[in-house]
Structure formats: structure tokens, C-alpha cells
Amino acid sequence: MSSIRKTSFLRSARLEQETLTFTVVILLALVLTSISPAFLDPNNLASLQTAVAPNLIVALGMMTLFMIGRFDLSVGAVMGISGIASAMALDAGMPVPVAFATGIMTGAAIGAFNGLLVAYLGINHLIVTLGVLYMTRGVIEVVMSGQQLGGFTSFPEGFSMLGQWGFGGLSGIFLFSLILCIGFEGFMRLTLPGRKLLFLGGNPVAAEAMGIARRRTEFWCFVLSGGLAALAGVLMTARVGMANRYMGDGLEMQIFIACLIGGGSIAGGKGSYVGALAGVLFVTLLTNAFNLLLVPSEWQAVVIGAVLVLVLVADGIMVLRKRGRPWRNILGLWPSRLAT
């Protein structure tokens, strides 16, 4: 009687939400093109690329953590401090590769600290990374207290080239971040360790019973997240030619929202790096829209918060649906008292 429905490609590849987000991004871009002539201006497109590139690099690390059911709110501060660290190394007369490595190592070390506390001591990851966010911002303030607001601004030619090379009209770091994204996607889809990440997030108990080292994986995911945030920070420092205390301020929430919109879930076991790209594009276009339409920055915070709440509600509804609760039970006037 009933034939077996063939699963659609999008469903079998777990790309449903990613497709939705990409569609919204394209719609948003079309709307912006039609209502604001400045949107397709070469300057605006160039600044969009510069905005997407670091966010995407940071989002790759965040998405990895999302897959295993964790997240890292210290990325914005890590980005700032690693840019400053490499700038200070250059200031002290070190060669460019050493300065580059200094920045990355700073970020990876902070990531390792996060990972140690979360994975091996089992402390709530939100509290740890928030605390580290505060501590890192404090350190940045102390380090920069003798500097002017602009911070470090003079860099050798070789360092600036790291961020300012381009290829065929596209910004170099933008291309680099895209290649990185494709590489991560391949890793996640085609290799065993990549699949293990999703398995670990989907069912930690089963994954541990299967012999996946949960603590070690979590630890290295945090190191990866810190390292990628540091990479973004160093590249952006090279790109904009200055390291100051404002870099990456409030970035963590944007990345967090981007990952949620792009198909991640705070419960873990879901998500893809292509989705991270979609989410970052969405958040960047949204910010760009505010700037093009001259909306004051306070309203941006309101909208970002509202989007976060909406996404969380949607995520919550999806989780409840996955547990088999009927719609009327979730949205009805008198839901079942036996929640959880």
C-alpha cells in the first residue's frame, strides 16, 4: 500500500537547517540590494569579506565545540589578547613567524586552560569560559593601560602582508577562511575522528562506552577553539594594522548565535561547518544591514538578544519534538505537567 519514501538528499546529509539559513541569507542579501544602493558598493563588499573572515574562523572552533555539546564564550577576548600578544612580540623586535606563533600559542594556552577546567575538573563550561572572558579582558586592560586607545599600530611589512594579500579581487583571509571551512567540513564528514565528534555530542554515555575518550576529545576541542580564535585575532591585527583593547569585544555572542542559526544545538550532536558559514553570513549581513540603514548600535544589541532568545526557543521546541511530544502538548494552553 504505502511505498517507502526515498529520503531526500538534504535530510540524509543533515543539511536541512543549513539550507534554510542559506535561503534566508540570500533573501536578506536581495532585500538589502533593493533597498540600499550602498550594499553592492565595492567598499561595502570588501568590508563584508573582512568581517566574515575572522568570524568564520572563530565559528569553526565554536561549531566543533557545539558538536560535542560545549561552547566557549571566551573567544572574543582570546582574539583580542592574541592580537595584542603578537603585536607586543613584534614590538620587542622578534621576527614575524615568532610573533605569529606567540599569538597562536597564547590563544591555545587559554583554550587549554578552559579545556582543563571543563574536561578534567568537570566544571560548567559556561561559567568557566565566562570567567576566563572576564579574566582575559582584565589582563588586556592591564597590559594596554600604558598604551593609547589606538594600541599598537606600526608593524613590519611582512606581518601586514599576512592579512592584506588578495587574489582576484577577493581578500586573502576571506579565501583562507573558506578553504579552512571546506577542510573542516571534509574532516567532519569523511574521517572517523570527525564522525566521533558528532557521536560524542549525540550520546556521551554511549560514546564513552564505545571507547571514545570524552575528556581528551573535549580538551583538544577547547584548545582548537582557542587556537582558531587566536588565528583570527592575529590575522585581523595584520589586516587592520592595529592591536587594541576593543578587538573581539562582544564577538562571542555573535558567533554563538551564528552557530545556533547555522544548525548547531547547545545539546550537542548536531551541526556542520557549512552551517557555521551560513550562520556567520547571516549575522554579518544583519549587522551590515543595521549599519547601512543607520540604526543606532543600542538597537543592534536588542535585536541580537531577541534573535538569541528566538533561536533558543526554536531549539527548545525542536528538542521537545525529538522526544516525541505532540505539538498541542508543547504549544497548547495547558501542557502536560510531566515536563522534562
Partner: protein, 330 residues
């Protein structure tokens, strides 16, 4: 393994009483002694410290923050958390000020602002209960949202000072001390009674210990949680009104980072991220302890920017202790 077997396997074990003072910081006396020790240390080493003016200003600051921690502590008892307190605090204060500048009377303005705070608390609680959302995450969202609204208001005011009558509110005295200090003492005494006698507090602890079991036993988990979130937002609102009156003008930095001070203070004072306990007396002492530490840092000329680092480190340290000592179900 069948159920009967499992029952046979486990020897009849007596559970420890839930609140028998076996957690980190749940021993009020020890906490009071530590606070006293820090106080004595500062008083002996720094002569500026033990002046009437300095102590009064510390106590005044603590008493205002204390108003905000009342609801917050009881939200934590139920294994939820409300990180939007700092923003609600700022929003309510700024809204009251804005309405007063717009020519409203004090009581209508404060009433409307508190209603707005209650609405925010209700939305938080409702979404958490209905969609089973992690309250840590949700309240970060509402924290951003409300902070944005508060900044919109503050920018509209553009640093205008509030009317004189409002400015003098925080400096109202009762029995020759600030009214908020009196309120704090009264509330601590009330909380003592509430925690010893009230069935509601027992229910809240039960919800925090085991929400499923509480539901099965017919406790109205949803209602109590929503009420606690509303209470948390409203107490934060009251504190915000007093603070707005104290700082006399709209300020975008008002209440920034307050939520983390509160998490730290509440956990020092005996609450736990894992729910099931929490003590308003302890929270008050925790706030006092933090205030003394920060004041001591100023007394020792440690850079003020370093405070952010210390608050972050204290937050991680207290939560680490909390986790290691109260680890459950692992």
C-alpha cells in the same frame, strides 16, 4: 537486571538529610569568621579602612546589591539561574529615572518600571518552564536584549541628572542609618524564618534536588519557578531604582557584570549551581566578603582595572569548589 534484584542488591541506605550543612559554604559561621578575619586584617593594616565613612559606604553598597540578590538566590535554589539581573537592574533604574524626567510622579514611575521588570522575569520563567530551555542560555539572551533597551533609554536621557526628590531617595535615613541597610537586616531575619519554617522553601529545595520527583509528588514546579523568576527580576528592579537614585544620572555602565558578582556571592554563601540549597544569609555575607576584598584591593592601591580579573578568577574558583565538593550523578 530487574527492579527487585536491584532493590535486593542495594543495602538499605539512609540518605543524609538534604540541608545538613554538608556543602561548600553552607556553614554560615565559618563564612562569617572568614569575613571577620578579612575585616580585621584590613582594619589592622590600613588605617583608612576602619573609618566610619568607609565602612558605611561599603555597607550601603552591599545593602543595595543585597536587594537584588534576594530573588536571585531563590532562583538558584531551584537549579535555575537568572543572568539577566544586572540588565534588569539597569533597565528598571533608568526607566524610573526617564519617567521622572518626563514629569511623572515617583510612585507611578517606580510602579511602571517594576511592572516592566516583572514582565521580563515572567517571560524568562515562562520560556524556561514551557520549552524546557537551559536558563543559563536564555537569560544571556534576555541580558543582551534588556541591556540594549536600557542603553537606548540612557542615551535618550544623555546624562541628565534625575529630579532632586528622586536623588534623595537613596539617602533616606531610618533610625540614623540608610534605609536600605535597615531593609537588608529585616530581610535577612525574615529569610531566616522563611528558610526554617516555610513549606514553600522546602518545595523549592526539593525542585532543585530532583525536579522529576517533585513533579510526581504534585509540586507545581512550573508555577513556583515562574514566580521565582518574577521575584528575581522585581528585587533586581527595586535595587536598580535605589542605585539609579544613588548615582543621580543615567549611566550605561550601571549594573554591568553584576550578575557574576551575584553568582559568586551566592555560591560563596552556600548556594550551588546544582540546585537544592541556597541561603539568603549566606548570600548577604558573600556579598559583604566580595565588597571587602574589592575595597581592600583599592586600599592596597591595586589597579582598578585588575578588579575584572579578580572577579573572573573568584567566579571560576568558587564554581570549581562548588563542582568538586557537590558533584552529583557522575
Amino acid at each position: 537486571m530487574t527492579v527487585t534484584q536491584r532493590l535486593d542488591d542495594t543495602p538499605a541506605r539512609k540518605h543524609k538529610p538534604l540541608l545538613a550543612g554538608n556543602g561548600f559554604g553552607s556553614n554560615i559561621l565559618a563564612l562569617a569568621l572568614v569575613t571577620l578575619a578579612i575585616f580585621a586584617f584590613l582594619a589592622l593594616t590600613r588605617q583608612n579602612f576602619a573609618t566610619w565613612q568607609n565602612l558605611n559606604s561599603i555597607l550601603f553598597g552591599v545593602s543595595i546589591d543585597f536587594l537584588a540578590i534576594v530573588g536571585f538566590t531563590y532562583v538558584m535554589v531551584m537549579r535555575e539561574i537568572d543572568l539577566s539581573v544586572g540588565s534588569v537592574f539597569a533597565f528598571t533604574g533608568t526607566l524610573t529615572g526617564a519617567l521622572l524626567v518626563g514629569g511623572w510622579g515617583f510612585w507611578p514611575a517606580a510602579g511602571v518600571a517594576l511592572l516592566a521588570a516583572a514582565a521580563i522575569g515572567f517571560v524568562n520563567g515562562f520560556l524556561v518552564v514551557r520549552f524546557n530551555i537551559n536558563s543559563l542560555m536564555l537569560t544571556i539572551g534576555s541580558m543582551l536584549l534588556v541591556r540594549g533597551l536600557s542603553n537606548v533609554l540612557a542615551n535618550d536621557l544623555g546624562g541628565q541628572t534625575y529630579p532632586r526628590a528622586f536623588r534623595s531617595l537613596a539617602r533616606t535615613n531610618l533610625f540614623d542609618i540608610r534605609i536600605t541597610i535597615v531593609v537588608m537586616i529585616v530581610l535577612v531575619l525574615l529569610a531566616w524564618g522563611f528558610q526554617r519554617r516555610a513549606a514553600l522553601y522546602r518545595k523549592m529545595c526539593f525542585i532543585g534536588e530532583n525536579v522529576k520527583s517533585a513533579t510526581v509528588h504534585g509540586i507545581q514546579v512550573g508555577t513556583i519557578k515562574i514566580l521565582a523568576f518574577v521575584a528575581s527580576a522585581m528585587t533586581a528592579g527595586v535595587a536598580g531604582i535605589f542605585t539609579a537614585s544613588r548615582i543621580t544620572h543615567a549611566d550605561v555602565r550601571m549594573g554591568l557584570g553584576l550578575e557574576f558578582v551575584m553568582v559568586t556571592a551566592a555560591i560563596i554563601g552556600g548556594a550551588s549551581l546544582y540546585g537544592g540549597r541556597g541561603d539568603l544569609r549566606g548570600s548577604a555575607l558573600g556579598l559583604l566578603l566580595l565588597a571587602l576584598v574589592l575595597n581592600g584591593m583599592i586600599m592596597y592601591d591595586i589597579e582598578p582595572v585588575f578588579q575584572q580579573f579578580v572577579i573572573g578568577a573568584l567566579l571560576i574558583a568558587t564554581v570549581a569548589f562548588d563542582t568538586v565538593l557537590n558533584r552529583r550523578g557522575q
